[in-house]
Amino acid sequence: MLIKKMSARIDSLHELLAFLANLAKKNGFSKDTQNRIELVAEEVLVNVFSHAYKDASGEVEVRCFDPDGSSLTFEIRDAGVSFNPLERIEPDVKAGLDERRVGGMGVLLIRRMADAVAYRREGNTNILTLTFANR
């Protein structure tokens, strides 16, 4: 298992995404799958950066399990306030321009682009587990 821990702030985003993209690339995952991984990871991480620690500083950790060639699984962990992004209400994607609200798109992309996603709270830690099939 490979672990990368960084400050939970926007400056950490590119390095954390590069960590995951490089792992996917090194293990032969397609460009399309790499792209889905980066996109979903960004959505989850940006949620952590903006909600987990309120105005205080904190850390976020990415734990990547050994890929088996056909799928890649990783966890995104933070020790912030209890927050399950999957409980957020999805936006109505059929709404017209006037009714359409800004926001809520992140969770939609997480659900649609990851092949499996699960949330759990362990002690004071939020853990989101994400799995991507190579295709």
């Binding site: 985003l13 996109l39 960004e42 992140g106 992309l109 682009m113």
Partner: protein, 111 residues
């Protein structure tokens, strides 16, 4: 991300290259905010060179489309790569902001 703004008679074209993510979205938001201080009513996002878009980027497109509607103008996109198009499709934005294969087709549509 690179932002280049070009003008073809009454049409403004925002050429976006690279990654439109949570880091670069504020940069586009500022640039588009400046554009909306002018009275223009024809705007195209040329996305041929855009590799990546996340929800932070979608947010800027949606607010731009809403602003454009309030001034009764026209806004569209051109040259979406497959992975970028997928994000617009999943979010439903593809039905809110017309997308054309080429810049030429986009210009013809809003001229």
């Amino acid at each position: 991300m690179d932002i280049e703004v070009t003008q073809d008679s009454e049409i403004s074209v925002f050429v976006l290259r690279g990654r439109l993510d949570a880091v670069s979205a504020p940069q586009l938001e500022d640039r588009i905010g400046l554009w909306f201080e002018q009275p223009g009513t024809r705007l195209i996002f040329n996305l041929e060179g855009l590799d990546y878009v996340s929800s932070a980027g979608l947010r800027v497109f949606l607010t731009s489309a809403k602003k454009m509607k309030t001034r009764d103008g026209k806004l569209c996109m051109a040259g979406l790569r497959p992975n970028v198009k997928e994000v617009f499709t999943i979010s439903g934005f593809i039905t809110l902001i017309p997308a054309y294969d080429t810049l030429g087709a986009a210009k013809d549509a809003i001229r």
